[in-house]
């Protein structure tokens, strides 16, 4: 039996009077991937930011490896050490080379010796075919390469859980695939993940559980195949129909 890495229980988040997340409950087991789909503004990004404690929740509870990370006395820095987050807009540090981007957190936060951090970073870069880019600045890389570096940067800290926020939305279609195949590799190696994506084909491939987020609520969740092929709720059907029309399904 797999052990639960992340558990959310009745999480609620609002910005002022606008409720962004309401009654969000789900569990991610070790080595499993939970994928969130939904229209822009449905709360996917906010959800990931809440798990990462970048945004503070209004109600409910978030447990990471059984520990309540929504508690008041918890140190966000310590929680984030266990979480890897990759953003839609890459957010690499432009004043640092690829290698420096990757070793920043291991050397400064986890206090790994620099030599060792460099060795590990180069190994990771090599594994994902980016070792030749180690000494280059992010601006010299294609979008796909930049996003892969961002993934590697978050992996270098050996996170318990990876949060991927629409990581292909800013890429042109040709580059999407190289990033997605990187994620598929990670999944097959047993990385536990929570993803928000608009790529339905990809969602189907990596998701163990698919959640459809609509106006801040999980309207439907379960096996990806079931939800994508025979959705129960009319809103899910409408969302999928519109995706289909847009040629994205």
């Amino acid at each position: 039996m797999s052990h639960p890495v992340l558990q959310l229980d009745k999480v609620r988040k609002s910005f002022g009077s606008e409720v962004v997340l309401e009654d969000i409950s789900f569990t991610v087991l070790e080595h499993k991937a939970t994928v969130f789909i939904g229209a822009s503004g449905s709360g996917k990004s906010t959800l990931l930011r809440c798990i990462n404690l970048l945004d503070q929740i209004d109600d409910g509870q978030i447990l990471l490896d059984g520990a309540d990370i929504s508690a008041v006395d918890i140190s966000p820095d310590q929680v984030r050490e266990k979480l890897g987050m990759v953003f839609q807009s890459f957010n690499l540090f432009p004043h640092m080379t690829v290698l420096e981007n990757v070793i920043l957190a291991p050397t400064k936060v986890q206090k790994v010796a620099k030599d060792k951090a460099i060795d590990e970073a180069l190994e990771l870069l090599k594994k994902f075919g980016l070792n030749e880019k180690a000494d280059q600045y992010p601006d010299r890389l294609s979008g796909g390469q930049q996003q892969r570096v961002a993934i590697i940067r978050s992996l270098a800290r050996h996170p318990r859980l990876l949060l991927l926020d629409e990581i292909t939305s800013a890429l042109d279609p040709v580059l999407v695939n190289e990033v997605l195949s990187t994620v598929r590799d990670l999944k097959s190696e047993g990385m536990t993940m929570v993803l928000a994506t608009h790529e339905m084909g990809f969602a189907k491939q990596v998701a163990d559980e698919l959640c459809y987020l609509h106006q801040g609520r999980i309207l439907e969740s379960g096996e990806p195949k079931k939800i994508l092929e025979s959705p129960k709720k009319s809103q899910t059907r409408e969302f999928l129909r519109r995706l289909h029309q847009a040629g994205r399904l």
Binding site: L54, R80, G84, N91, V109, S154
Partner: protein
């Protein structure tokens, strides 16, 4: 249209365009090159002619003006200028020392104030408030007044142990004023770093301070380097203002010489010395920034 020409006679200037292949410019390209060359020649000719016309007219107006002879003798008497040059240079060492001391202090104090004003820590609230008041006040007062107030006001307090040295007080006044300016420049730089950079750093587990130190400040300071160096050039010049307290700097030294002979050439010499320092500094800044920009933004490499 653009047929490749195989004839060797058409290879007008092959060396600079030859990439080692069998390519040679087509007829149409050769026509374009000839046309471009003709156009460039015409532009250069116009530039030369207009320069001669404008600068020549200005020079002529200057030289033929009724007071030109007098002006030349009172402001540009080079032999006299060279004679008093050592005295002004000696005075300039005061400006140079003052610039180094004030510049270093201003950089540190300005950075500290900028960090205070951008911090969100509740414990720092009173300091944040004080920093804001400080910046508002000293950016709003002419520096000359600050120099006079500090230079003559502090000794008037007659507090024991406090210096009456006008050089030190003058430097202090310069530091107080410039820190306020520099703090605002650095603060604006910090604010231009996109929040997503902060979010990325925090999500990697970096603390607030580490985020500032490794991610925000390097980007912010680089962006504000041109305005900061602009301020440094201004600082070098403004060190001359402490001369009103009686400090013998380059300006004061020139003034003393002028008072002796009623010839203004020492002022011109002092101006030249300032230019000899500030112009190379400006050029060097430009080059440094261009280099770092090219390093990070080189796109389209083969």
């Amino acid at each position: 249209m653009a047929k490749k020409s195989g004839r060797g006679s058409n290879r007008a200037t092959p060396s600079s365009y030859d990439f080692g292949g069998s390519w040679s410019p087509s007829e149409i390209e050769l026509t374009r090159r000839t046309a471009r060359k003709a156009r460039n020649r015409k532009s250069a000719l116009i530039a030369v002619l207009s320069s001669f016309l404008v600068l020549g007219t200005l020079g002529l107006v200057l030289v033929t003006s009724p007071g030109w002879e007098t002006l030349r003798n009172t402001f540009f008497k080079w032999a006299y200028g060279v004679e008093i040059l050592p005295k002004i240079l000696l005075g300039f060492t005061t400006n140079a020392t003052l610039t180094v001391i004030a510049g270093t202090s201003v950089a540190l104090i300005g950075l500290a104030i900028a960090l205070l004003r951008t911090s969100r820590s509740p414990a720092l609230t009173p300091f944040r408030l004080l920093a804001t008041v400080y910046v508002d006040v000293f950016r709003g007062i002419p520096m000359l007044l600050v120099i006079l107030l500090v230079g003559f006001g502090v000794p008037a307090l007659e507090i024991k142990g406090l210096t009456n040295n006008v050089l030190i007080l003058g430097t202090l006044a310069v530091i107080i004023t410039y820190s306020a300016y520099v703090a605002e420049v650095i603060r604006s730089g910090i604010l231009t770093v996109h929040p997503s950079q902060r979010a990325a750093a925090r999500s990697l587990g970096l603390s607030n301070f580490q985020t500032l130190r490794h991610v925000v400040l390097p980007q912010a300071l680089k962006r504000v380097t041109p305005p900061l160096l602009n301020d440094l050039v201004a600082l070098i010049k403004d060190t001359g203002l402490v001369s009103i307290l009686g400090v013998t700097d380059a300006v004061r030294a020139a003034q003393i010489q002028t008072a002796k002979t009623f010839n203004y050439t020492p002022y011109v010499m002092a101006a030249i010395i300032f230019l000899l320092v500030t112009i190379p500094l400006t050029r060097w800044t430009d080059r440094m920034l261009r280099n770092s920009y090219e390093r990070e933004n080189a796109v389209g490499q083969a």
